[in-house]
């Protein structure tokens, strides 16, 4: 399969590259806006779970009309993200209270007009767990929102549709007058992803935003509400009309009569968690796919570094597989050894 095959399979991926978006998700926010007009009058916005940054790009382009950088945008993610003009970045876990406090600090005496959250866990494949974590991201985002969103403000967040989703809806309904569930055309048909668009922020009277176990207090467990007839049903709206391309369809590279030019991907994550493992693989020293191959790094006292370097040997496991054993004190030293052995 060539490098163009993803371009053919995913029209939004290709368009994102052509139009300079860091991720195809940009279209989801654009399509949500075309249906719900979420950017109207917005000058201060928070983008939770923002990396690699395409939603921040959309916010920056949409909120700064006529090229002046007047809008205030704060972007938060676990992952580091390449800088964006006019976007303040915070790196951290939004489910962690201390991160939430840091975000709130940016809005000391002010309110945000819009909070968006496209957060998603790196899915494990265990659907119940993934859906649970996703719901916690949403509640964390909601909690941050209760601290900073202005009255009648808008909150947009990704959800995973699962069997307990009615519970989430009813929790959102406590804080917002209007709650919709929407799916942009650019989101794939088979995906469990959808978005809640919550308009008209109006917390219950006397509600005091707090940081005391914030996630759990939203989670009142009323099973009648979950399953009973009183369960809150949220309208489901598909946004983006049929003139928008279909994210499940395959398109010819000469789509819409335009001449095709291959574009390199825009922005991959700055440093994936397994970067170190990958670097080791790429250096060709480690072929983890081969049976019996492994690498161990020992963290021993500093003083003994040189002695350990000598121990850097190819050892044999019982199956006579060479396995590289490197003994050193930290990762920096590991790289040195790699360089020496070149």
């Amino acid at each position: 399969m060539g490098k163009t095959s993803k371009d053919k399979r995913d029209i939004y991926y290709r368009r994102a590259k052509e139009e300079g978006w860091r991720a195809r998700s940009a279209f989801k926010l654009l399509q949500i806006d075309s249906e719900f007009h979420i950017f109207e009058g917005v000058t201060k916005a928070v983008d939770l779970c923002a990396a690699p940054g395409s939603w921040s790009q959309v916010l920056s382009r949409k909120l700064n009309k006529d090229g002046n950088q007047t809008a205030r945008i704060v972007a938060v993610d676990l992952q580091a993200m390449a800088p964006l003009d006019g976007v303040v970045q915070i790196q951290g876990d939004i489910t962690k209270v201390s991160t939430a406090e840091e975000i709130i600090k940016h809005f000391r005496n002010e309110h945000a007009d819009l909070v968006v959250c496209d957060g998603a866990p790196d899915v494990t494949g265990l659907h119940d767990m993934d859906i649970y974590i996703q719901s916690q991201l949403l509640l964390a985002a909601l909690n941050i929102t209760t601290h900073i969103l202005k009255p009648h403000g808008i909150f947009v967040a990704k959800i995973f549709r699962g069997k307990d989703i009615s519970l989430l809806y009813s929790q959102l309904k406590i804080f917002f007058k209007d709650v919709y569930c929407t799916k942009p055309r650019s989101s794939r048909n088979s995906s469990i992803e959808a978005f809640v668009v919550c308009k008209n922020y109006s917390p219950p009277e006397g509600y005091q935003p707090h940081m005391l176990n914030p996630l759990l207090t939203h989670e009142h467990c009323d099973f009648n509400q979950l399953t009973g007839i009183n369960r809150y049903v949220v309208p489901f709206v598909v946004c983006g009309d049929l003139s928008q391309p279909d994210s499940d369809a395959c398109y010819s590279l000469e789509y819409e009569g335009k001449e095709y030019k291959y574009h390199e991907p825009n922005q991959s994550p700055i440093s994936p968690p397994y970067e170190e493992a990958i670097t080791l693989l790429e250096k060709g020293k480690l072929q983890l796919k081969k049976p019996g191959t492994s690498l161990t790094v020992f963290n021993e006292p500093e003083s003994a570094i040189s002695a350990f370097k000598e121990k850097c040997t190819i050892s044999s496991s019982p199956e006579e597989e060479p396995s590289v054993t490197v003994s050193i004190s930290d990762n920096k030293a590991l790289k040195e050894i790699d360089d020496e052995s070149k």
């Binding site: 876990d93 009615s166 048909n189 279909d246 095709y260 968690p273």
Partner: protein, 1043 residues
């Protein structure tokens, strides 16, 4: 009621000779020594079991989602009875881990760690909890809790953001936040597991960053209780890289660390991080759960393929290699062969022949060096008693192993070929096939010390013209050659054993059947007859099966399935009473593969298959000898020990996209399934419904490979369905616009199903854009453009229809992701697939298609991501196929047919449907959408002057029955509608249409444990009062609905 379930196994626990397994919400018990299922108990409905923890007495804590059940286990001599103690305990937070209080006076207390980094000390008798919140409030992905005799609890918590927290509680004031004692930093990603092993005093953590980290805990021996942890000195000791994907969990047991991961590997390490063994355990599916029983001999794993396996922890201690030295240091071994497990023959570079055995060591055998100076072909007879040599000038020499003197004696030396002997093969204990130059082949029989030529044959012309293998069967001589072809020769009328003299007549010289280049240009490697099948292997990495059939009184072969082996060079098949081993080479490794277990049992780094090597299997011991670095190596192991049968069988390793039951006239449930793992599976559900202990099992009957991308859809045409046999054409399609046609037939012996009676043959394979090579070629020709412009297409849906007017022709309707509705025809006789028409459909991905016949009209339904159901009349297309049968695909055209009717039912994609005829011209259609909507429409189709029209009569909608997309629907005759969605709800509705009203009411709901449900089909219920539903997606489940 759930009758059978195969899905992710998230919890395993071994207690004594019993294994407790959590699958879905059910706790299952097996006996380890016999692999038998014993009993099951529903515990956490509707949540999945994520953990099982052994408690004091006979209690287990079983948790999943936000629930914990206390299960009491009573074992009598033969069975184990599990009962749920009271009701399950529900919490409002996700349970990460649980542990029993170890102090004896409080057997009813559990410490429960929740995802919000808080701990409950919970009395399950009184339903009372003491709650402790850690000062750091965040979400945990993994963690554990330990307790000591004095009721101190220590929490090891893993976060999404690289950190491990250690905190401890003891009768802390509730409401106060508990401080963190230690923060361990070092991982670069989400922490999936953290455990502490008190014996080694190590903390072991696993992560997204693909590492396992061991942290040493230095504890001051004078400290007690929580103080001990406060003052502990914790530091990162070892970082282990060895997995190629996320590492889910790891366990420490005495001297070993055992880790499991998304890459389907079980890795066994020493505490110093030296890798001892990597087991490729669950066929590529992630491994979720592990337990290492205290006996320290076995490992139990549960995987994403639904399987549960028991592995030896120390398999390699049974694996011995030794080197046999030659006396003279300047001579090197060139050929080796094993006479039995302790003795071997060696021919050296200098032309010496040696034997070596335990009793007499190395001994030289006399050899006529004038004949055998520089060139020798050596073969060992099947009974390993004779050694045959052949020479440059056509001599055949035979040695016999004298069991008394334990040395080789020459018994024959005779010139049998006018030329150099290129190859030689034993056909049975006293006959050989010898192949010389120019394809000259002779079969030779050893009779009273001399070699008689029985027959002469001529190997067809090829570049390297010699045989590589040969077998005889009745009057057949079957040879494989270096050019990759298989040839069949007749030898007399009765077979080689009854031929004494040369009865050659012309029809014997040339093959009467040849399968040219079937194993590719690197050649055939072996031929073997097992029962009525021929098995061949070759250097194309495949094992091929053929059926031996009598046609006009003569046995011939016809190809059956092809199995891709996990090796490049497939050498030999070896039948044992319980298994069929395949031996071969992958790069520099020798590989021993078990077909019964579908896994590699053994790898030996021998340098590759080009060197001389040999093996024997003796009393369950496998000996493998090879020459490497000019030395003779012998390896020994017990393959039986390397693989035990699965405790629970596995199914697909990834999402299942389609399941079709095979029609049988006697109510067997045989399912064909395909999915993301690209394998087409044939599965037999044993003993549905009737089994008293309510334990249905399933067995995999065949795994068919060949699809290069996911299998999205299946369609079936039944050719025969009698009490003796069912024969079916299967059309499978999916990614990369690939379509395959298979013939799957099964004969029944006394109504019973046996794996041996199933045959699966790939009849045809088709790719819309040609194979990758063809695409590349066409690109090179049109040099001006540098990208292949056409879209990649997935076949989303296939319907097959046998044309009544032309029963040899099958019309195939394909819904494609590039928005085209394509029509192909398949010719049963020529096995030819021709493309007929491609109807464009607004560039929308077509998700579902359906074909039905109504008053001589062939009508197609298409459903796409635009939420519209379109109705097409295909009469013209059928006429085209019937009337005009071009040799070439000249009919390929894009006729702009338009649908004759449209129903806009959904806002976006239609993921499921079912259609039933209510009465003459009146139909009911159920559709389920990506917009969570369930829709029922009653419509009428009219035909006037050959023009079809549709009238919508009634519609019923429900937006709230399912909270997610609806992915499976079944309408049955008796007025029930079954629906299932990604929300895992299985709903039963009653529907009734009475000419005015369409009345639909929900009558039942339940939850399926299959996540990511892709669809639902119906199986034989074997009971008139019930329906057996099969939901599939992440695994499959059989659910019985009784009226």
């Amino acid at each position: 009621m759930s009758e059978l379930l195969s899905t992710d196994v998230l919890a395993v626990l071994s207690v004594g000779d019993y294994i407790f397994v959590g699958i879905g919400y059910t706790l299952r018990v097996y006996k380890k020594s016999t692999n038998n299922f014993i009993s099951k108990l529903d515990v956490c409905y509707p949540d999945k079991i994520h953990g099982i923890v052994k408690g004091p007495g006979n209690y287990l804590a079983v948790f999943g989602g936000k629930q914990i059940g206390i299960v009491e286990v009573k074992s009598s001599n033969k069975t184990v009875l599990t009962t749920l103690y009271n009701a399950v305990h529900r919490f409002n937070d996700w349970v990460i881990a649980a542990s029993w209080c170890s102090s004896n006076n409080e057997p009813s207390k559990l410490a429960i760690l929740f995802a919000h980094n808080c701990l409950y000390v919970y009395d399950w008798l009184k339903n009372e909890a003491k709650e402790f919140q850690c000062e750091e409030k965040c979400i945990l992905y993994g963690g554990s809790v330990t307790s000591d005799k004095a009721d101190n609890f220590v929490v090891f918590a893993g976060t999404v953001f690289q950190e491990i927290f250690i905190w401890a509680v003891r009768n802390f004031n509730i409401g106060e936040e508990v401080p963190i004692l230690h923060r361990l930093r070092g991982h670069n990603g989400v922490i999936f597991s953290v455990t502490f092993d008190p014996i080694t005093s190590l903390i072991c953590s696993t992560s997204d960053d693909r590492t396992i980290r061991l942290w040493s805990v230095g504890i001051n021996s004078s400290d007690n209780g929580i103080q001990k942890w406060k003052n502990a000195n914790i530091s990162l000791m070892t970082t282990i890289f060895g997995h190629t994907a996320r590492v889910w969990r790891a366990a420490i047991r005495k001297d070993f660390v055992i880790s499991i991961g998304e890459d389907s590997l079980v890795c066994i390490w020493t505490k110093r991080g030296t890798l001892i063994n990597k087991i490729e355990a669950h066929h590529g599916a992630p491994i979720w759960s592990i337990d290492v029983p205290e006996d320290g001999n076995t490992i139990i794993t549960g995987g994403g393929d639904g399987a549960v396996h028991v592995w030896p922890l120390r398999a390699n201690t049974n694996f011995v290699t030794k080197i046999i030295p030659l006396e003279s240091s300047n001579d090197v071994p060139k050929h080796i062969g094993l006479l039995n497990s302790t003795s071997m023959v060696i021919i050296t570079q200098t032309g010496k022949m040696l034997t070596q055995n335990k009793e007499s060591g190395l001994k030289e055998v006399s050899l006529d060096t004038t004949k055998y100076a520089s060139y020798i072909v050596m073969q060992i007879s099947p009974d390993r008693k004779r050694v045959s040599l052949a020479s440059l000038n056509g001599y055949l020499t035979l040695y016999e192993d004298n069991s008394e003197t334990r040395c080789l004696q020459r018994v024959l030396e005779q010139k049998i070929m006018d030329s150099k002997v290129l190859s030689m093969h034993w056909l049975n204990e006293d006959s050989l096939l010898v192949c010389g130059l120019e394809g000259c082949m002779k079969t030779v029989k050893i009779v009273q010390g001399s070699a008689l030529v029985i027959s002469n044959h001529l190997l067809p012309q090829s570049r390297e013209r010699w045989t590589t293998t040969a077998v005889v069967h009745e009057n057949l001589l079957i040879c494989g050659d270096r050019a990759g072809s298989i040839h069949l020769f007749r030898i007399g009328d009765v077979g080689i054993d009854n031929l004494l003299t040369d009865q050659t007549n012309s029809c014997h010289i040339h093959p009467f059947q040849s399968l040219l280049k079937i194993h590719g240009r690197l050649g055939v490697h072996s031929c073997k007859i097992i029962e009525d099948k021929l098995l061949t292997t070759g250097r194309d990495g495949t094992l091929r099966f053929y059926k031996l059939q009598k046609i006009d009184g003569q046995k011939t072969i016809s190809p059956l399935q092809i199995d891709k082996m996990p090796m490049d060079w497939v050498s030999i098949t070896l039948k044992t009473c319980t298994d069929l081993y395949v031996l071969g080479f992958k790069e520099v490794d020798f590989v021993l593969y078990s077909t019964a277990h579908q896994r590699v049992l053994l790898r030996i780094r021998c340098g590759g298959g080009h060197r001389s090597w040999d093996y024997v299997l003796n009393d369950g011991n496998f000996y493998f000898t090879y020459i490497r670095d000019k030395q003779i190596h012998v390896a020994k192991c017990e393959p039986n020990f390397l693989a035990t049968l699965a405790v629970e069988n596995g199914f697909h390793t990834k999402e299942v996209y389609c399941i079709q039951p095979i029609p049988t006239s006697i109510g067997h449930n045989i399912l064909i399934s395909g999915g993301e793992d690209r394998i087409l599976r044939v599965t037999h559900i044993n003993g549905c419904g009737s089994d008293s202990n309510n334990n249905q099992k399933f067995t995999s009957m065949a795994l068919l490979s060949g699809h290069i991308s996911s299998i999205k859809t299946l369609s079936l045409i039944n050719l025969q369905n009698t009490a003796e046999c069912t024969r079916n054409l299967i059309f499978s399609g999916g990614g990369r616009a690939q379509l395959k046609v298979w013939l799957i037939s099964l004969t029944f012996e006394k109504n019973a199903v046996h794996v041996g009676n199933l045959t699966c043959v790939e009849l045809a394979s088709h790719m819309l854009r040609g194979t990758d090579q063809q695409q590349r070629k066409s690109l090179q020709q049109e040099s001006h453009q540098c990208h292949y412009m056409d879209p990649e297409t997935r076949y989303m849906s296939i319907n097959a229809y046998r044309i009544p007017r032309k029963p040899n022709f099958i019309l195939l309707l394909l819904g494609c992701s590039d928005g085209f509705l394509r029509i192909f025809s398949y010719d049963i006789e020529t096995r030819n697939i021709s493309t007929r028409t491609a109807i464009p459909y607004y560039n929308r991905c077509i998700l579902m298609t359906h074909l039905f016949n109504y008053e001589e009209n062939l009508i197609a339904l298409t459903m796409a991501t635009d939420g519209i159901v379109n109705f097409w009349c295909l009469n013209d297309v059928v006429d085209d196929i019937v009337e005009d049968l071009p040799d070439k695909d000249k009919l390929v055209s894009k006729i702009p047919i338009l649908p004759f009717a449209k129903l806009g039912l959904h806002q976006c994609g239609i993921n499921s449907y079912d259609l039933k005829m209510l009465k003459e011209s009146l139909f009911i259609l159920a559709t389920g959408g990506d917009d969570n909507l369930l829709c029922l429409v009653v419509f009428e189709i009219k035909s006037e002057n050959g023009v079809l029209s549709l009238h919508k009569i009634r519609k019923w909608n429900s937006a709230s029955s399912h909270s997610t997309q609806v992915t499976g629907l079944i309408l049955n005759e008796s007025g029930s509608l079954f629906s299932v969605g990604i929300d895992q709800k299985v709903l039963t509705f009653n529907y009734r249409y009475d000419d005015i009203k369409l009345i639909v009411s929900l009558v039942h709901d339940t939850i399926t444990s299959v996540a990511d449900v892709q669809g639902m089909t119906m199986c034989y219920a074997n009971d008139v009062d019930s329906t057996l539903l099969c939901t599939y997606g992440k695994g499959f489940e059989l659910i019985r609905r009784t009226r």
